[in-house]
């Protein structure tokens, strides 16, 4: 059994133009665990997922997936690595012209020589795991947002990947769907021996299912550890994040000119003293 981490980031730097998103980020994702990437919006969480999957290349530093430097892989090798990963997009990204069944069968038909009988069995097993075996004939337009994400999860699991990445899996879900999704992520991780990375803003659900939490802020890692360790963090930024305080190191107001100059208000005059 491997003891080395499945994903290892070493001193990652990445930015868009002048804007630095990640500035020397290092972390590891242990095998078989659920790791949560959290932080304020625009903090680079989704960028990290895209770096792991090789959609983006780091400007400096290394991102190793099972010992392979993802950024240095040519397309054929990158595609081989991606067959060992699954990704769940925020809104599912289901193929709208294919039924639920065909969506889940898609990677199997593209990457294997399995016959249709066997594909049917595998697809129904995957749909059973997410509780949607009965929805196999529906089209993506006929399922709810929560169901679409579960279909996408079944599709992401179709090739039995080692790593599954979830980009905002709880966004916009009602409390029942949210609880179901969180339970499902944990159950599938444990029963199938997967490694999971979750990017989420939902503190309660994420802390409940994660083994490890990494908080990104200002391009760096602000805190890292078990959910309890992160909750106890003395860092003011982490404290603001876990207590959901509106103001703190992350300001409520976006930087801009002061209110008085924007509204054309002159400074209040000093009251004159009586003669």
């Amino acid at each position: 059994m491997h003891t080395s981490p499945l994903v290892l980031a070493k001193d990652l730097c990445f930015g868009y133009g002048e804007r630095r998103i990640l500035d020397g980020v290092s972390f590891e994702v242990p095998r078989g665990k659920v790791t949560a990437l959290m932080g304020a919006s625009g903090g680079g969480k989704t960028t990290v997922l895209r770096l792991i999957s090789g959609q983006y290349r780091a400007q400096s530093g290394q991102l190793l997936f099972d010992g392979q430097d993802v950024g240095a892989l040519a397309q054929p090798a990158l595609y081989l690595a991606r067959r060992r990963m699954g990704m769940l997009f925020q809104f599912g990204a289901l193929f709208t012209d294919l039924s639920v069944f065909d969506n889940v069968a898609f990677p199997l038909r593209e990457h294997t020589d399995l016959g249709e009988e066997l594909i049917r069995d595998v697809v129904l097993m995957k749909l059973q795991a997410v509780g949607l075996r009965g929805a196999r004939d529906l089209m993506p337009s006929e399922v709810s947002g929560g169901m679409a994400r579960r279909v996408a999860l079944a599709r992401a699991m179709a090739l039995d990947p080692e790593l599954i990445m979830y980009d905002e899996p709880f966004a916009g879900l009602d409390p029942i769907s949210l609880g179901t999704a969180a339970r499902l992520i944990r159950q599938l991780n444990d029963s199938l021996g997967l490694t999971s990375i979750i990017v989420s803003h939902d503190l309660e659900e994420t802390f409940r299912i994660a083994d490890q939490v990494i908080i990104l802020a200002n391009g760096r890692i602000a805190a890292q550890g078990t959910p309890d360790q992160v909750r106890q963090s003395a860092d003011p930024l982490v404290h603001q994040f876990v207590t959901a305080a509106p103001d703190g190191p992350v300001r409520f107001h976006h930087p801009g000119p002061d209110v008085a100059s924007d509204f054309g208000i002159s400074a209040p005059r000093q009251p004159r003293g009586r003669a």
């Binding site: 595609y79 991606r82 990704m87 997009f89 925020q90 990204a93 990677p107």
Partner: protein, 260 residues
């Protein structure tokens, strides 16, 4: 962009050169994927049905009306010189060499090109192309290449349908309604239209237009901003760029064909 600032011109030129580079690379990839597309023939056939069959009605109806008009205009012009018997030849040459390939390409850009751009653009906006790429399935190979080759194949067939229906329309107006002699209508056409020089040139033109229109539509969809406004702009661009490219290329090809 300010036209009087050199820096803006530099920025604009660099951007256009980068676009040209992207487009050229995509074109080379699509052409290189002919073998893969042939191996997965079913995907191309589905797209030929989607692009070709669904464009048949508009192509046939337009061809019929163009044929009606050609029949009328041709008859009244030829009559002045006492050569109304050459109506069939005039109509056939106009349709096979020019109007068939050009008008069907313009209609194809409006009917199938816009639908291709919107489909690819919306797939991009819905992260479907990214999802496919992350499943280790190349979207260019799986989505774009079958559509490209289907468009290239469908275009000459549609142009042929346009010309055939147009000739029938001219026959209805010229022979059935006006009374031009049917024997001279068909006979002059048969003796005056050369299979290689006339029909061949028309087929060659429609192949070039098929490549152009389908590529423009796919490129615009692939490069569209993944927003409703971006997809809408890309769809408009498809019609504008593809139509101008068809008309420009038609002049170049016609000049080349007459000079050879």
């Amino acid at each position: 962009m300010s036209w009087y600032r050199a820096a803006d011109w530099g920025w604009w030129t660099r951007r256009k050169l980068a676009d040209l580079g992207h487009a050229s690379r995509l074109m080379v990839r699509l052409v290189g994927m002919l073998g893969v597309s042939l191996r997965r023939w079913r995907l191309v056939v589905d797209q030929v049905h989607f692009l070709g069959n669904h464009s048949l009605a508009i192509i046939a109806v337009s061809g019929l009306f163009v044929g009606f008009v050609l029949g009328l205009q041709g008859y009244y012009t030829l009559q002045r010189y006492g050569s109304s018997s050459a109506l069939g030849l005039l109509v056939a040459l106009s349709l096979v060499r020019e109007l068939g390939p050009v008008v069907s390409a313009l209609l194809f850009a409006g009917r199938a090109g816009t639908s291709l751009t919107a489909e690819i653009g919306l797939m991009k906006a819905g992260e479907q192309l990214s999802a496919m790429d992350l499943m280790a399935v190349d979207p260019v190979q799986r989505i774009l290449a079958p559509r490209f080759w289907a468009g290239v194949l469908a275009m000459p067939v549609l142009a042929a349908v346009f010309s055939a229906v147009g000739i029938m329309g001219a026959w209805v107006v010229g022979v059935v309604m006006i009374g031009v002699d049917a024997g001279s209508f068909w006979g002059q056409m048969q003796s005056g239209v050369d299979v290689w020089k006339d029909v061949g040139n028309g087929v060659l033109k429609s192949l070039v237009f098929g490549i152009t229109v389908t590529f423009v539509a796919l490129y615009q969809g692939h490069e569209a901003q993944p927003t409703p406004e971006g997809v809408s702009r890309a769809t408009t661009q498809t019609v504008v760029v593809a139509s101008l490219a068809v008309l420009g290329l038609d002049f170049v090809l016609t000049a080349l064909m007459f000079s050879l």
